[in-house]
Amino acid sequence: MNAIIALSLFGISNLFLGFLNNRKILLPATLVFILIALGLNFADWNHEYYWFNNMLKTNNLSVNFVTIILLSTFLVVAISRSFGDDDEHSHPAEYYAILLFSAVGAIMMVTFENLIMLFVGLEILSVSMYVLTGSDKRSLRSNEAALKYFLMGSFATGILLFGVALVYGATSSFDIHGIAQGVAKAKEQMGGAYGPLLYSGVILIMVGLLFKISAAPFHFWTPDVYDGAPSIFTAFMSTVVKTAGVAATYRILSISFPSVYGLWGNPLVYIVCATLIIGNITAVYQQSFKRMLAYSSISHAGYLLITVLAKRPETNSSLLFYSLAYAIATITAFAVLMVVSEAQAKNGKADESFEALNGLANNNPLLAFSLTISMLSLAGIPLTAGFFGKFFVFSDAFSNPSSLFKWILVIAILMSTVGIYYYFKPIIAAYMKKGEVAKIELSPLYKFILILTTTLTILLGLAPDLVKNIF
């Protein structure tokens, strides 16, 4: 809650800082703002508290999620060096302010106790993303991506809202615990059956949320939007938005509708399988590194959703761990992609294909190493954070008594092996392929972030209990 208030104010102060004509101050100021918000967030540690007539609830779980969100925002902002200095026509203050505001929306989505809060949070996050996707006004692809995202996203929000209305009609409550009671009561009255309103409502809410985390078959916007948006905002989208979306899905399904598991669990099984298969298989055929990362984010949505399906108290921690590992690795990958694609730019257009990475290791060992670690982590190779993320998720699924999870597990493991194939493509390009990438000068902050994320990935891969115990 404190973080929400702080970030809202900081966003506005960021806009005022934009008047100063001194763009150097914006990046450090924004980083400090995020760190302050992160500090304030820990004030809620070990206090379970309901805010403002049960609108928000903070507890350790929410603090952990907020920490992951703010950490990802911090890392994304830290690698956003490009809009500060050279381009005199961009609007850095606005970008940073919107990023801070969207973090507010993401925090609302992981702490909400009332569906109105979920809706407002989701809208703040989505509207910020529509704007940032189209922020590269000179690029036709960015414009197209923004329009596509906006049109589809607003339909998805509309569907979510319709679902909320139907659930309200069925349970006469917006409060997520109130809904759980209403569901239980309705179930009692009807002798174990679900009301038809509830059925449609839950499905529609699920569709709206799954669209935001780009689970198949609601993923069609993802590749184009991720590809068209400026890389820095793609990094934000594939980490913060995804974490917040999965957390919100997990929260509402596990708190409001645990007693009607069959209602949402059965469709979700198919959605998870479809997401895993489509995301991984399609990623194999991509020529562009950025587009490959887009499909990889779809497949990771599938892994994350397994924890939602598994529906046990311990899955909290595996969800958190997976989100953290995924976010760090993805941001590292995007950090490398951004500098390399700009260095390899042709005709003023950044080259985002795998070929751009050819021979990266010769002159830029740090970049190549970070890239390798992040790819290994995303693929789930042992001794990286991603391995333990997958391990925890799979063991959750395995310990579930339902035989259905065995089949999900088989598909998930099969698809992980497919993943190894395409995650090795950039590594092979960087180390094996012939090519020349000139030495890329990195700012100290950029270097620090790369080293930090790489170290974190390895550290969590060696000693996952460091973090797992907190969660």
Partner: protein, 166 residues
């Protein structure tokens, strides 16, 4: 009750005319008419404030901007239909299925728990109490949403040097 049926029929008719009419200007005007019908429903539910706000905001401001833009763009020329028959068919089947499910769902709704309407339900005072006491946090945070939208609109709408004009 008879008036309710009349109003509902009118709402549905004008709403379907929004998507059926070829001329976008006509679509917008039908949409305005639909908003009026919905405002009529609000009056029947004794929600006068919502009725007025619906007219001021939607019919009076947003739809004027819609008309404004459509008139400037002159969309009346018939553009060739870009969708293939298969897409249309798939869309029709999906939409029809959703419609059938929703109608079936609403037919089976059990209304015995619904509270009877009382005279103060839709009044401004009641609405203010709910909005500023129970839902004060979302109410305040919506300002962030509008702020983002405003900043974004200004940022995207500003013409810049070196920008291509499509």
């Amino acid at each position: 009750m008879n008036f309710w049926y009349f109003l509902t029929a009118l709402t549905l008719l004008s709403a379907s005319m929004v998507i059926l009419s070829k001329n976008p200007i006509h679509s917008v005007l039908y949409l305005v008419f639909t908003f009026f019908c919905i405002s009529g429903h609000y009056v029947l539910l004794n929600a006068q404030f919502l009725m007025a706000v619906n007219i001021v905001v939607y019919a009076g401001a947003i739809m004027v901007l819609f008309l404004f833009v459509i008139m400037m763009m002159d969309l009346s020329k018939n553009s060739p239909d870009s969708k293939s028959t298969l897409t249309k068919l798939a869309g029709a089947i999906l939409g029809g299925t959703l419609l059938v499910i929703l109608i079936a769902a609403s037919r089976k709704v059990d209304l015995k728990d619904v509270k009877p309407i009382d005279a103060q339900t839709g009044m401004v005072e009641g609405l203010g109490q709910i909005l500023y006491r129970d839902y004060v946090l979302p109410f305040e945070l919506v300002s962030i949403l509008f702020f983002v939208a405003m900043v974004g609109a200004v940022m995207l709408g500003k013409r810049e040097a070196g920008e291509r004009n499509f």
